[in-house]
């Protein structure tokens, strides 16, 4: 039986930094197997909320449950793709080794990589269409390829919740489209939270949108959450969503919505 996504519940989570509210009483629930966009302007608290979800930042108050458990007990169920991945110019790292690193915590100290680990790396690389590139140095990859390596590093852990932070920022349209198609495929076996400030990633595969500007401005189906009112709260009264077939559509094409 294939693995399924898991539920996430975030109750009244608040974060303060140097006396300033960064997140204020954020509450939402993610359904198992759903694809949710965490959407909002720069500085609106998206990355902070994601850091709380992966345990990099402590919430001042509130509760977070992943698969009905606190994060400490559910860490191995979570896959994380960080924002703005770059290869460090002074560190030679092969594609396969970069992906293997995702398994470090699962193997534990004093244990060496085994055949099963290498098999999982091959599967993860095939999934992101980088099969056969195991020996390449990640410093020689394009931005889109590198992003896919980091997605493979998250997938190799066989997560049931995948968190992606601005996974399509700074890459060209073709690569962006292939990453979004991959995310849509992954939805079959995991819950996905995709952080973005780019409305063009909204598609019919997206189940829900969380609009964040320090507080949760809106939460619901894309056509409901991305309303003129919520956009005005997030970006000011001038902002309007570009609606296409009742959705802010990512594909620009000349024909109808068909």
């Amino acid at each position: 039986m294939r693995a399924q996504g898991i539920a996430v519940e975030c109750r009244d989570v608040s974060v303060r930094r140097q006396g300033k509210d960064i997140l204020e009483r954020i509450s939402f629930a993610l359904e198992p197997g759903s694809l949710t966009l965490l959407f909002g302007p720069n500085g609106g608290g998206k990355s902070t909320l994601l850091k709380v979800l992966v345990g990099l930042e402590k919430a001042e108050s509130g509760e977070l449950l992943i698969d009905k458990k606190p994060l400490e007990l559910a860490r191995n169920l979570v896959g994380y793709v960080p924002q703005r991945v770059i290869a460090q110019p002074h560190i030679p790292l092969s594609v396969s080794h970069a992906v293997l690193m995702g398994l470090t915590a699962l193997r534990g100290p004093f244990q060496r990589w085994n055949n099963e680990d290498h098999r999982r790396v091959s599967i993860a690389l095939d999934e992101v269409e980088l099969g056969g590139r195991e020996l390449d140095d990640i410093r020689s990859l394009s931005g889109g390829e590198l992003q896919r390596v980091y997605i493979a590093r998250a997938l190799v852990r066989e997560p049931r919740l995948l968190l992606l932070d601005e996974a399509t920022s700074g890459i060209d349209v073709g690569v962006k489209s292939s990453i979004l198609s991959l995310v849509e495929r992954l939805k079959e076996r995991m819950t996905i939270l995709f952080v973005t400030h780019d409305m063009s990633v909204v598609s019919e595969a997206v189940d829900e949108v969380l609009c964040l500007q320090r507080t949760l401005v809106a939460h619901g189906r894309p056509s409901e959450a991305l309303s003129a009112e919520s956009m005005a709260v997030m970006y000011g009264s001038e902002a309007q969503p570009f609606m296409h077939c009742h959705l802010p559509h990512r594909h620009v094409h000349s024909g109808g919505c068909g």
Binding site: H90, T104, F110
Partner: protein, 271 residues
């Protein structure tokens, strides 16, 4: 040929070669983490600071090596705990700690008879006894086995601290392990090349290896090969030319580094 036969039958030279090779091997392996983390100058500073430990040890009548190891470990742990933040940048705090400790070492060792200060600064390979060789080798083997056993975790933390933390591999724990390994290494290697020159063994072989290989895991063995080779050549040259062994090893390292980087750049232009 006759000369080389004589050279390699001299027990002093053999002991010097053994300790130089062990120190170089240790530096070459641990140095990969130093270079990857971009803390080459911290390693250099730590070796200078260990002078204070050697000074205190002599004052209390315990072996200077253990005093230096203890002090370097204490300093590493202190630096890890200080962390970032505050109004003073970390490099300024490190500079104050390292130069302050070095000054204490200078003052204490300058009052000691028998060229203790010169030996600590420039290394003292040739007068080493069998017990020194055994103690240094045993400590080095223990350290190498520990670092190898934790290689996966240490590499992950050195390459991507944030991802390590997200997946449950504690960066603070493994950074402390790494810092303690660096502290032990610089003190052991200081015995061979002296505190002033130890960073040549800690930085040069790993730097060459990291440029030469396609994956960081290969860098450990390449770096070890280069480190052991330059230190052995350095000791032999120092005996032949009657020059200080530590300085000769550092000089050979520098020459190898310059030749390698020039060849690498030339190759890069051709391709």
């Amino acid at each position: 040929m006759m000369f080389l036969n004589e050279l390699f039958s001299d027990p002093y030279v053999l002991r010097a070669l053994a300790v130089a090779a062990v120190a170089a091997l240790l530096c070459a392996v641990v140095g990969v983490y130093v270079v990857v983390r971009g803390i080459s100058f911290a390693g250099d500073g730590l070796s200078h600071a260990s002078l204070a430990g050697a000074g205190f040890a002599r004052l209390m009548g315990i072996p200077p090596l253990w005093g230096a190891v203890g002090y370097a470990c204490f300093l590493s742990a202190l630096i890890s705990r200080l962390g970032g933040g505050g109004k003073l940048r970390e490099d300024a705090r490190l500079a104050v700690l390292f130069t302050g400790s070095m000054a204490v070492g200078f003052v204490l060792l300058s009052k000691q008879p028998g060229g203790a200060l010169t030996g600590a600064l420039f290394g003292s390979l040739l007068p080493l006894g069998v017990n020194d060789v055994v103690a240094i080798s045993a400590a080095a083997v223990l350290l190498l086995v520990s670092v190898k056993a934790l290689q996966k975790e240490l590499l992950l933390v050195a390459v991507d601290e944030e991802f390590a933390a997200v997946t449950g591999v504690s960066p603070s724990r493994y950074l402390l392990v790494m810092d303690l390994a660096i502290a032990f290494t610089v003190v052991i290697a200081s015995k061979a090349v002296g505190v002033l020159l130890v960073s040549s063994l800690l930085v040069v072989p790993p730097s060459i290896a990291l440029v030469a290989v396609r994956d960081i895991e290969q860098a450990f063995s390449v770096s070890a090969g280069i480190g052991v080779a330059v230190s052995l050549i350095g000791v032999v040259l120092s005996v032949l030319l009657d020059t200080p062994p530590g300085a000769t090893i550092a000089l050979v390292s520098a020459v190898v580094f310059i030749i390698f980087m020039a060849a690498h750049r030339f190759r890069g232009r051709r391709h």
